[in-house]
Every structure is written in C-alpha cells, then in structure tokens.
C-alpha cells in the first residue's frame, strides 16, 4: 500500500452513511429560494379558483345565485353542488369510510364550509366573484357541545344518513353517532376495578387543534382534453393514494392521472386527506379546458381543511395500595365535526388509540370510543402523531400522574414500578399490540440522573413550603412523561387505506459510473429524505451518499407508496430502501465473484466493495462493479444494476422516550416559565443524529404550542373564534423554550436496519410533559386535573378556583 491509499476511516467517512450528521442536500436550494412549492407552479393560461364559504355553522341553503358573479371581469365559471352532480362528484368518500360534501348540497354543516367555487383569470378576480355570489340561508339549530350530541332532542345534522343504523364501523346508536369502537376484556377489567385497593376516575380532554403547516393546502389541476389525462401538482403527503382516490371517484383511468407532490412546506398530517379544493380544481380544469390553481388562505386552512384531536377521555385506573396497576378503563367521546374525515388506516376508526396502556404492564384493560357528529369542521387528522397515539399518550400519562397523587407516590417512582420489563419483550398488551422492543427503566433512570430529579423535587418541596408561608407567589411543577409510540403503519394483516395495504417501496438504479438514483414511495415535507435515504443506501452498498440522488413525489416515476405520515417513512420506506439496496448488493456480489474469478462465497463485504477472504489485496469496489454491470456480467445474467423492493412490515415499531418539563408559574398572573425541558428519545438505530435532533426540537415546539395555548375553539353559535394567527397560538422564537435532547438506542429487532421512526415522538411525549408540569405545580393546592390548553388566563383561573387569592 502506498501513502495515497485511503484508510478504512477515510473510506467510511467518504460514504457519509448511517450515523453521520450529514448536511442536508435540500438546503442548497431552499436557502436560495429555489424550492419548488405548489404555488410556484405556473402554467400557460392558468386560472384560479376560490371558495364561497358559509358564514353559518348549520343552515339550509335555499338558493345560490351566480348571475352577478359571472358578470365580474375575469370570472369564467361558478361551480356549485348542482354542477358537480352532473359528474357525480357533489359528495366524496372520506378515508374513514364516511362521505363528505364537496360543495354544500342543500345545507351547510360547519362555518366556512365550501358552498361554491369561483373560477377566474387570477386570484383577485376570483375574490371579486366570490363577493358577488348571493347565497340565501335559513339558519338551523347549532350543535357545538359534543356531550350534547347524543341527547334525544339534539338537532339532526346528517340528513343524508337518515334511517342508516349502520355506518362504516358498525351500528349507530343515534342520529349524530358515527361509530362505537371497543377493544379489550370488559368483564375482566370490571372485575379488576371491583377488587382494586385504589381507583381514579377523571375526564381528560384533549382539545381540538390544527396542524397548520406554514404552507397551506393547495393544488394545480391540468386536464388535457386531447389525451384525456389529468395532471395534479399538490401538497400531498401521500401522492399515490391521491391518484388512486381520483381514479376511483372521477372515473379517469389511473394511468392517465399524473400526481406530482413537489417541495412541501410542512404537513404534520394536514396534507394526507383529500379536500374539496382538489376536486373542484380538477372539475374546473375539465370544464374550462385550462389549468386551475387552488390555494387556500390561512383562515380557510384553520377553519375548514381538517383539525386534530377533540378527544374527551374518561379515564379510570385500578391499582393496589402499593401502586401496582391492575386495570385500565377508558371511554372516549370523539368529536369528528360534520363528517368523519379522519386519515387513519381504514379499519381503525380511532386510529391506534388502543396503545393507551402506554409503557405499563396492565394485566387487563377495556376501551370504548364513541364517534359523534357536531357542527364543526370535518377531520380528525394525525397532527404530528401516529393516528391518535398522542391522545392515548396524554390520557395514560395524565392518568398515571393522577394515580400517583392519590397514592401519595412520586410519579417517576410509580412509572418505574409499572413499566414493562426488558425481558417481557416482545410484549403483548392487554389491548392487542405486540411491542417489539424496549428498555424503559434505563431511559427513565438516565433522564432522572441527567436533570437531578431528586434535587428538583427537593427544590419543589422548599418552594411549596415558602408559598404556604406567604414568601413567594410562584409555584413549581415537574412534568414527567414516559411515552411509548406505535408507528410504521403498517403490516398488511391489519393496515390498509381503502383496501391498499400499507407497504412502502423503493427502486434503485445504479448507473455505469457508480452514481445512482433511488425513487421512494414516501414524500418528505421537511424531514430531509433526500439526505437520509441516501445515507441508508451509502452504508448498504458502499457508494457515497453524495452520489445517490433521491426522488419522491412523482407518481409516474416513483414506485407505489403510501406516503409520509404517522412516522411511517423510516419504519416502512426506510426498510424498503435497505432491502432494495441489499438486492443491488447481492447482484453486485455475483458480478464481483465473476470478475475476481472466485466463488461468491469467497467474497466478504468491506465498506465500499468486496474483497476475497484471506486475500485483502484482491478487491473490487462497488463503483467498479457498477461499470462491470453494464459490460461484463457473468454469462446468462441480465446486464444492469437495478432493484425494486416493496416492504410489508412484519410489525409496527415502538419508539419510546422519557421527558421532563420544569416549570414555574406565577399564580397572580398565570404566567409560566419553562425553566428546563429535557427529552430523551429511543428511536432505535439513528440514521442522521442532526436530523433526529431537529425533528425532536420541532415536535417539542408543536407540543408546547398545543399544551400551552393552541386551540381551535368555537362559540355557542359555531363560529370559530381562533381562526387566524391573531388568535391561534403559534409560538415564536421568544416564547419557545430551549430544548435539551438525549437518547438511548434499542434497535427494532424486526426492522432491516433497526430504526423505529422519530418525527412524532416529541409531540406525543411533549404534550403530557407540559400538562403534567402545570398540573403538578397546582396539585399541592388541592387540584387533581386542569384541562389543556394551559395559557396564562387558564392558569390564573385555576389559581383563582383553588382559592389562592383569598
């Protein structure tokens, strides 16, 4: 070897493979304003569509008069439900098995519901047209309170469901009932509660909020009449699913539909579903023969395209007096708004809420969820969460704190006492999941040591004593949260969307010079797939990640995938990428053996190529194998070096983490200060620690927003009172706390590279940490549970209700 020969370390480093903090490929264009988002798409002759929306939450639509609107310069068409009926698109199916009005058909069911679609030469003219459409309404009684939805005299919202006693998920009990979903052993659980030394019962609400990515939902639809082809550029987290949905409902052959999701400005679950804007833009393009763009504004986004949460969870835990949990009983009242437009796997009306036993070894549990309709926006999307997991984590993590309080135990100690033990994995939960792996005690203890938990409790005790002596008006809370996520939907045995199994896919093509392209069925909205997917391939096949181009989002070129949400990309698409790379490597090994004139079994892998066992000088690099694949493959072998993998995961993955929030609250003003927030995540194998940390920071910030103020709130008339960024809490750099991150690594035993997914963990674990901190702060004053969001006003009110101003 001469001095020029790179060392093993240099060869490793050159790959920039898994585990390294590779700088992002995407940033080169994003930092220069050269991203290509949907609103950047501009086509010749393109028109703009915009909605006439309902001011009422519940009203009959008596008439729609478009005459004056059509006289507005630039306005070309006004589409109503009557227009859509001619193409059978006045209603559309939702992913949750319900149907939803595309445009108001006879009545409106929530404020800002889409009533008519005005098509014009530019967005200003469309707006002029909207102001000239005259809609006559007859107001109807409004249903806002979910707890009154199933009263005998509650207004009938969904007249289209009259007489239907069965919905997509079984029997309906009431005209405003969507479904009832039950899991677990009721008798066994009831018996556990009868025998229990200690029980708690609390109605824990997780309020309605909204994902609100900075880029709203938008699309450009272009129908080519000559070819009969429809091209849609859209903000789609799952472009292939959109293509199939369009094929099914618009009756256009699927090969004539081209869906392109370009750069996406954040998704957080908002961009999974299909919205009326997409349908109307497509119909408008078919009608006018021109491309039509639809871009919603922020108020439309917050008030009409989906929402998240709105779960009201009556939570009961049974335990021994020593603090061993013996049973869990949860009833959820799930407010779905006017239409059930959840974006969950089709067979899961409440998503994976049955992860609600959390990280604890509950011998038995029972869960019942009642979905109901109200006069609110439709949805129920997974806002930075894997299908209702954040609701479940909040439910159990609040519940455990309430139990600890009743037992007079420390909340961390109670958790340690009830964790599933490392030797119990794979663990079968009382509500039906098989947890793949975990080491909860290690993570929890590491968190407690890192923040000096004992010291913090001591300080809290001193502060409480000082408060009682009247020496301070500040109270201190420690919010402990230990979450188990369930992500990576999912195995075909239990996960599908509209009948399509939730696999994901990757196609890799290596070019003769040793560079290549990988196309993946996932779709980044900021997660950095162009960077991290290449790192997986680099490690697997020894080609530098800089030499691998990643492409997503074009349904014509990418293999069919179910998209990116629910932290499924790394567990499912990431696995497909590794498996496709391994197919490349397997063929490469045959080529190398042929070229080196040895048997395949005589070769071993070494960083970036193969070498002959026992003869370290005799090697062939992957780069050279790529060249050989195009000119001298073994006799009988097809030339080229390409592979496709469709990966059907054998199980979900179960990331977990231990979080703690240290907070002070001034009882006279309700003003809180987050003194410290520490987040330890275990997401298995870490592909890019820089990106993981970034994901955790972002998820924690969204958790902070939700727990401390972010809410979609309605008044009694069904008016949205938090419909703009004036009222809907968006933390800025000033309010946002400083984040401390940490990790342990417990690889997934069934995932090809042991990775579990991380993007949503911080939201799932973060919300209970914040809420537990507030509740812990007030607990010594006699409070058991204070509902979120914990803004200054509510904190002040809580203090007032606890009599601290006496």
């Amino acid at each position: 070897m001469n001095d020029m020969t790179p060392t093993r370390e240099q060869r490793e480093a050159k790959l920039e493979g898994m585990g390294c903090k590779r700088k992002r490929v995407e940033d080169i264009r994003f930092t220069q304003g050269k991203g290509n988002y949907v609103d950047d798409v501009k086509l010749p002759g393109m028109l703009h569509g915009d909605f006439v929306r309902s001011p009422h939450a519940h009203a009959r639509v008596k008439s729609i008069n478009s005459e004056e609107a059509l006289k507005v310069p630039g306005v070309l068409a006004v589409i109503t439900a009557e227009t859509l009926k001619t193409v059978n698109l006045a209603w559309m199916p939702t992913l949750a098995g319900d149907v939803q009005m595309v445009l108001a058909d006879g009545k409106v069911l929530f404020q800002n519901q889409e009533v008519a679609f005005v098509v014009a030469t530019d967005r200003y003219a469309a707006d002029d047209g909207i102001n000239k459409v005259v809609v006559e309404y007859e107001a109807l009684p409004v249903l806002v309170d979910p707890f009154k939805a199933m009263d005998a005299d509650a207004p009938v919202l969904r007249e289209d469901l009259a007489g239907k006693t069965t919905g997509a998920h079984g029997p309906r009990k009431h005209h405003n009932h969507v479904f009832e979903w039950t899991v677990g052993d009721k008798d066994l659980t009831d018996a556990a509660f009868k025998k229990a030394d200690v029980t708690i019962k609390e109605m824990i609400s997780y309020h309605r909020t909204h994902p609100s990515p900075l880029e709203t939902c938008q699309c450009v639809c272009s129908f080519d009449k000559i070819k009969g082809e429809l091209t849609i550029w859209g903000t789609f987290q799952a472009p292939h699913v959109i293509r199939t949905v369009v094929a099914l409902i618009a009756k256009i052959p699927e090969h004539k539909i081209h869906v392109i999701a370009p750069d996406i400005g954040g998704g957080f679950g908002n961009k999974v579903g299909a919205y009326p804007g997409y349908i109307c833009a497509a119909v408008a393009s078919i009608v006018t023969g021109k491309p039509v763009k639809w871009v919603e504004d922020r108020i439309e986004n917050l008030t009409a395209t989906s929402f998240a949460r709105d779960y009201h969870m009556t939570t009961e835990i049974a335990a021994t007096k020593e603090g061993k949990v013996t049973g869990l009983r949860v009833h959820v009242l799930a407010d779905h708004g006017a239409f059930d437009a959840c974006a969950d796997p089709s067979k899961w009306p409440a998503g994976f809420f049955n992860i609600v036993t959390g990280s604890y070894d509950f011998p038995t549990a029972h869960l019942a969820v009642d979905g109901i309709y109200t006069n609110k926006a439709p949805g129920g999307v997974a806002y930075r969460c894997s299908f209702r997991v954040t609701e479940a984590a909040y439910c159990i993590e609040r519940g455990m704190d309430i139990l600890a309080q009743k037992l007079g135990m420390d909340p961390a100690e109670l958790r340690l006492k009830n964790f599933i033990k490392p030797e119990q994995f794979p663990y079968h939960s009382a509500l039906g999941w098989e947890y793949d792996s975990g080491d909860y005690h290690t993570a929890m203890r590491k968190m407690m040591e890192s923040v000096d938990y004992a010291g913090l409790r001591k300080e809290q005790a001193e502060k409480r004593a000082a408060f009682k002596r009247g020496e301070t008006r500040e109270i201190m809370g420690l919010g402990v949260s230990f979450f188990t996520e369930i992500v990576g939907a999912g195995p075909s045995k239990n996960c599908d969307i509209l009948g399509i199994a939730m696999f994901d896919s990757c196609e890799i093509r290596m070019h003769p010079t040793g560079a290549g392209i990988a196309r993946v069925g996932s779709k980044s909205q900021g997660q950095g797939h162009e960077t991290t997917w290449a790192q997986i391939i680099a490690t697997e096949i020894g080609i530098p990640s800089d030499d691998i181009m990643i492409e997503e989002g074009n349904t014509d070129t990418a293999p069919y995938g179910l998209g990116t949400y629910g932290s499924r990309s790394t567990p499912v698409a990431g696995a497909a990428i590794a498996m496709a790379a391994r197919k490349i490597k397997a063929k490469a090994q045959m080529i190398a053996a042929y070229k080196l004139e040895v048997h395949e079994g005589d070769l071993e892998w070494d960083i970036d190529g193969f070498r002959v066992k026992g003869l370290p000088e005799k090697t062939m690099s992957m780069k050279d194998i790529c060249w050989a694949a195009y000119n001298s493959v073994p006799p009988g072998m097809e030339p080229g070096l390409e592979a496709v993998s469709y990966y059907d995961p054998p199980n979900m993955t179960y990331p977990f983490g231990a979080y703690i929030c240290v907070m002070n609250i001034d009882v006279d003003t309700g003003v809180y200060k987050v003194r410290r927030f520490y987040a330890l995540d275990d997401c298995g194998t870490r592909i890019n620690p820089m990106i993981i940390e970034g994901q955790v920071h972002g998820g924690l910030t969204e958790a902070f927003a939700i727990a401390m103020g972010q809410e979609i709130r309605y008044d009694d008339e069904g008016n949205v009172v938090t419909g703009s960024f004036m009222d809907f809490f968006m933390p800025t750099a000033v309010e946002t706390p400083h984040w401390e991150t940490d990790f342990t690594v417990t690889p997934s035993p069934h995932h090809p590279i042991g990775a579990k997914g991380v993007g949503e963990s911080p939201n799932v674990g973060g919300v209970p940490a914040f809420s537990n901190a507030v509740n812990d702060a007030f607990s010594f004053l006699g409070s058991t549970h204070i509902q979120m969001p914990h803004d200054y006003w509510r904190n002040w009110k809580a203090a007032k209700n606890l009599g601290v101003f006496a």
Binding site: L214, R298, V734
Partner: protein, 169 residues
C-alpha cells in the same frame, strides 16, 4: 364592475431595475412572485403574522403580503434571490442555516434569512435573546427555532471574522 385601471411601477429588486403594470390593490408579494416570477418569497398567512413573505424594503424588514406594489414605487428591495454572494456561493447566513440545520421544510427560510440579514446589519453581534426577539415576527413550524438561532450566531461570527462558538447548554 369595470376592469381596474393599471398603474405603472418601477423599483429596484436585488440591484436590478424592474417595472410592471399592476392594479392598485396588487400586493407587493404577488408582484414579486407573479410579475417578476421570483418565487422564493412565500405566503403563509396574508395577515402579517408569519413572516414567510419578509423582504428588505429600503433598509427595513417588511412583510410583503401587506404592502401594495404601488407603495414600493421607487424602492430598493432585496429578496432571497439576491442573498447569495456575487460569485454565486452561499452567503454567511445561507451557509449558517445549512451548517446548523436551521431549516427543514424550507418554507419559512427565505423570510427568516431576509429578516436575519437586516437584524445583523442593525446589530452585528446580537445575544441569543436579541436574536430571538429579532426574529419573533417570523414563524417556523419545523425547527423549534433553536437551530435558527445557532445559524444566525454562526453567520454573525463569520461576518465578524471570529470563530463560531456554540453557547454551552
């Protein structure tokens, strides 16, 4: 409704004289994005809250979604398209955002960088608290701001010719 009379506007954008015909109600951000076809400036809320549309207008950070194009008559404007160094390489702020992982989806990034460059002109060595206050008119939904703060600190150090030192946790 009569077709609205259009007005002729001229301004300097990223050092180049530009002109166009706009309606009096045309927003500056639409003039930039649609007339000039410079799509790096984004729209996130239309109500001056989110800052995705931030540009530099006559030495001030301005949210171009609530300024009429006619109000910018004769103005000097800088957008993200004018941020790179003269040789086409990334400027200190652009480099800082990449090095410190100060962006994810990239949608807030142009506005955030435009705001940061003005902040650093006003205060070349800001403290963390000054940076946080200085960018509080710009929302980011992805990063939690911590790495944006580091990105701006990185750029400040580079511009000031000093070594970037990360603050201790």
């Amino acid at each position: 409704m009569a077709k609205t009379q259009k007005t002729h506007v001229t301004m300097k954008v990223n050092g180049e004289e530009v002109e166009g015909l706009v309606e009096p109600r045309t927003l500056l951000v639409h003039f930039i994005r649609e007339n000039l076809q410079m799509t790096g400036t984004h729209i996130g809320c239309e109500t001056t809250h989110c800052g995705a549309c931030t540009v530099d207008l006559d030495g001030m950070s301005v949210k171009s979604c609530t300024v009429f194009a006619v109000q910018a008559e004769g103005a000097e404007i800088m957008t993200i398209e004018g941020m790179a160094n003269a040789d086409g390489s990334l400027s200190a702020l652009q480099e800082g955002f990449r090095m410190m992982h100060g962006l994810q989806c990239g949608f807030c990034t142009p506005g955030m960088i435009l705001r940061a460059q003005r902040l650093l002109k006003e205060n070349p060595s800001p403290t963390e608290a000054e940076i946080r206050m200085g960018i509080s008119g710009n929302f980011c939904r992805c990063t939690g701001y911590q790495n944006i703060v580091r990105a701006i600190q990185y750029a400040a150090a580079k511009i000031n010719g000093v070594e970037f030192q990360e603050a201790a946790e």
